[in-house]
Symmetry: C2
Subunit: 519 residues, 2 copies
Amino acid sequence: MARKPEAVAVPSIGALDRSAGQLGRQLAQSLRDAVRRGDLKPGEVLPSTRTLAASLQVARGTVVEAFEQLIAEGFLQAQPGAATRVAQSLAPAAAEARSAHGARTSSVKAAPISRRAQLFAQVARQFAAVPQAPFAVSVPVGPAAPDDIWRRLGNRLRARGPGAPASYGDPQGARELREAIADYVRRSRSVRCDAEQVIITSGTQQGLYLSCQVLLDADTPAWVEDPAYRGITAILESTGRPERMIRVPVDAEGLDVHEGIRRGPHAKAAFVTSSHQYPLGMPLSMARRNALLTWARANDAWVVEDDYDSELRYAGHPFPSLQGLAPDRVIYLGTFSKILYPSLRLGYAVVPENFVDAFCGARVLMDRNPPNADQHVLAAFIAEGHLDRHIRRIRGVYAERRACIIGTIERLLPKHIAWLQPSDQGMHLVLWLAAGIDDRQVASLAIESGVVVRAVSPMYSGGNGPMGLILGLGGFSDEEIESAAQRLAASIESIASVANVTTAARGANRRKRKNTRTT
Amino acid sequence: MARKPEAVAVPSIGALDRSAGQLGRQLAQSLRDAVRRGDLKPGEVLPSTRTLAASLQVARGTVVEAFEQLIAEGFLQAQPGAATRVAQSLAPAAAEARSAHGARTSSVKAAPISRRAQLFAQVARQFAAVPQAPFAVSVPVGPAAPDDIWRRLGNRLRARGPGAPASYGDPQGARELREAIADYVRRSRSVRCDAEQVIITSGTQQGLYLSCQVLLDADTPAWVEDPAYRGITAILESTGRPERMIRVPVDAEGLDVHEGIRRGPHAKAAFVTSSHQYPLGMPLSMARRNALLTWARANDAWVVEDDYDSELRYAGHPFPSLQGLAPDRVIYLGTFSKILYPSLRLGYAVVPENFVDAFCGARVLMDRNPPNADQHVLAAFIAEGHLDRHIRRIRGVYAERRACIIGTIERLLPKHIAWLQPSDQGMHLVLWLAAGIDDRQVASLAIESGVVVRAVSPMYSGGNGPMGLILGLGGFSDEEIESAAQRLAASIESIASVANVTTAARGANRRKRKNTRTT
C-alpha cells in the first residue's frame, strides 16, 4: 500500500463497528492493534485528526478522543505545533510484540510449564460434561425432576431476607443450613455433631479436596480404595508425589483394613466410601468399621468417610456412619448432588472441632465462601420437612428406574458377555464385561450413539482393573431406558465381536435367565 | 443400678423421642450407644423383645426391628432358642471406643497433623465474615441493592430451561455465560478472546488458586506485589515453600518491574493488580506494562492480571488490559463480586488456548463445576444489556458514597493523624495513619463498635508495612457513613492517644484543609 513520507495510511483501523457505539474507544483499540502488528511503526507520523475523521467518516471529536487516550497511555506522542507520532519508546515492546505475534502458533503449541498442568488437562477430559441422557448418574428429569416447592421457596427467599443478593458470607456456610444439616445427619445417619462442626462445601469433591489440604502434608501417605473414585485419586496424583497414595484393595466386606495396615501402617488418612463402595457397591462391614477405627486411633490417623449416596437404599437398614462410632477420628462428607440436584453444588463436611478453622481457611483460599441464595433455599427445604418427603419420593422413583434398567439389560445382553453386580443401594449399577471386552472402547462407542456410561477398569490402580461399566440412575422413562439399553448392547456386542468374544449363546442365555434375579 | 444375672437393664435406651417417629431406628441407635458407653458389655444377655417392648411401651415389632438391624450389623448375636446377647466380637472395638471416649478431650486439643492446617486456621481468622456495615467492601444495600430485573430474570430462568435444577455441568461453565463475558471484556477491557478461552470461576479467589495450580510447580518462583491481597500471598504460603514467593515493591507507577527482575529473574509467573493496585490504588503505567510483558516473553513466564474492580472508574479512561497487549502471555481474572453481588460467587478467567484444559481439570478437582442457575441468570443479565446499565448506575452510586466518605473522614480526622490516599477508581479507599498508630489495633477496636476496616500493614512483606486502613464502598446512607466515621475516628484517636501521637493540632488542621482536595 502507498505510504506518504509524512503521514502513514492505516487501512486496518477502518474496521469500526458503528452499531456497537463507543467509536472513540474502538478507534483507539484499532490503533493499538496496528502498532502491535507493525502496520504503524515507532516514530511514524499519523494523519491529522481532521484528515483521519474525514477518511473514517466519524466526528473529528471521536478521533481526538482516541488520540488523547493513546497519548495518555504512551502509545502516541504529541508535541505542540507538530504532528502526532507513534511513540519511540514503544520500539522494544512493539518489536517484542511482533516477534511474539509471529511465534504465537508455536507458543500456543508449547507444553504448559507446570508438570501438573498435563495431569489437569487429562482430568478435564475424564470429567468432560456428558449429555443428560441414560445412563448418566443423577439426572433429575421426569419423575425425579424438581417440584414446585423448590421453585416457590427459591422465589420467596431470593426476594428478601438472607437469600437475597448480599456481600461476602461466612466461609463455613450459612448458619441456618448448617443447623438443618446437623439435624438431618444426626437423625438419618447417626452422625454425632452440632452445627459448629458442619462446613458447607460445593459438593463431595470440595470435601475431598479440603480433607487432603488440611489432613495431609505434601509427603504424608494416605490410603485410597482400589478401585476408587477418580475424583480422589486425581487430587493425590496432582501433588506430584503419587507414591504417597497407598491403594488398598476392596473385597466383599469393603476396604481390606488388614491389607491396608500391611501396605501403609503409618498412613495419616484413609479415604473410604463406607455405605456404598465406589464403584463396586458393597457396604463396609461392621467388623471392618471397627478394625479401621481401631487402626486410626492407634496410629493417630483420620478416616475420611465419603457417604455420597447412602440415602438411596432400596432394601434393609443402613449401617451407622463411621463418624457416629468415632466422631473425633472421622471427617464425614455428604452431598445433595445425589438426593437433590448436582447443579446446586452443595454438600457438607462434618469435622472434629479442632479442624473447623483449618477447613474454613483452606476453603477461603479456594473460593472465599459458598454462594448465598441456594444455601437459604436448601435450609428452608430441609427445615420445613420437604427434603425427607423428596427423598422418600425419589427413593421410589429410582427403585423403579433401577428395576427397569436391570430388567432391560438382562433381557438384552447374554450373561456370559455382561452381568450386573448385585447391590441394594445407590445411584448407579455396575455392569461387568467378559474378559477381552475393553470398557473404555465400549464407553467411547456408546457416547457416539448418545449413551453415557463410565469405564470401571481405569478406577483400579494402574488403570488395569476388570472390565465394567457404571450405569447411573436418572429420571428417564422406560422408553428412554429401553432405547439406550439397546444402543449400549449394540456397542458392547460390537466391541465383543472385534475382540472375538462370542455372542452366540445369547438366545440360550436369555431363556435360561428368565427365572433368576441378579440383584 | 440392679443387674439380674440373665438380662441386663439398660435405662439409657429409654430415651425415645416418640414425636420424631422411626422408633425402631432410635432404639437401635440407643443400643449401639449403650454398647459404646459400656452400659452393655460384650456377651451380656438382653431382655426378651416382649419384656423390652413392655418396659419401653412400644410395639414388640419395634424392638424386633431394632434387634434384627443390630444382628445384621454384628452388634448383637442371636442363637435359635437362646436369648439375644451383645456380640463377643465387639470386645476390642468397644474397649477402644471407651478409651477414645475418655480420651476425647485431650484428642480434641491436639494440634492438627498437617503443618498447613495451622496456616489455614490463621487464614480463616483473617477472612472471618464481617458485618454488612460501613466500611465493609462491596455491600450491595440501599441504592446499590439488586433491582427487580435480577429477581425477575432469576424467577423466570430457574423455572424451566437451562437455569432449572439439572445434573452435573461443564467444568468450564455455561456456554451462554462464557459468550456473554467474552463479548463484555472485549468491548469494555480490550481483552482479546473468544468464549472458548473463558472459564467461569467462583470469583477472583478461585481464579488465583487455579492459576497457581496450573502455572506453578511446588518449587517454581513467582512475583507477588508488595503490598498485596492476602488471598494470593496465603495461597503461595500454603504450599510450604514461602521462599518461592518473590515480593516485588510497588511505587507510583505500580509494580517495579526492574526490581522484580533483579530479585527473581527466573520467576514463571507475576501476579499483578494492573488497573488498581491492591491495596494502594494506582494503575500500572504503560511503560511498566510494556516492561512486564517484555520480561515475561523473554523469560517464558506468565502474567496473572487480577482486574478485580476496573469497572469502577470515576475519572479518565482505563488503560487497556495487559491481556489485550499479549493474549498468549496473560491469564486475565475478572469478577462480578464488585460490580454485582459478592454472594453470587461468580467470576472468570480468560486463559491462552493451550491452558484451557488444564484450568478446567484443576477446577474439576476443587469442585467439579460451577452451580448452574445463576450462570444463566447472569448470562441473560449481560446479554440483555442490564449489566451495562447496572454498572452505569452503581458507578454513580459509588462515586457519591465515596465523596461522602472522603468529606466525612477529612472533616473528622486531622491530617497529621490520618489522610486519604489519592485515587480515582475502585471499591475502596486507603486511609493512612500516622506512624505509631497500629492499624491492627484500630481495626480490632473499630469492629467492637460495629465498624469494619481492614489493616494495611499486614499486606506488606513480613507484615511490617506502613500503617493504614482499607475503607470499602457499599450502598450505605450518608447517615450510616457519618455515624461509622465518627466511631472510626474515635477508635483511631483512642489508639493514637495510647501511642502518644498528639491529636492537639486537630482544630487547626481542619481549618487549614478546607480548601484542599485529597483525591
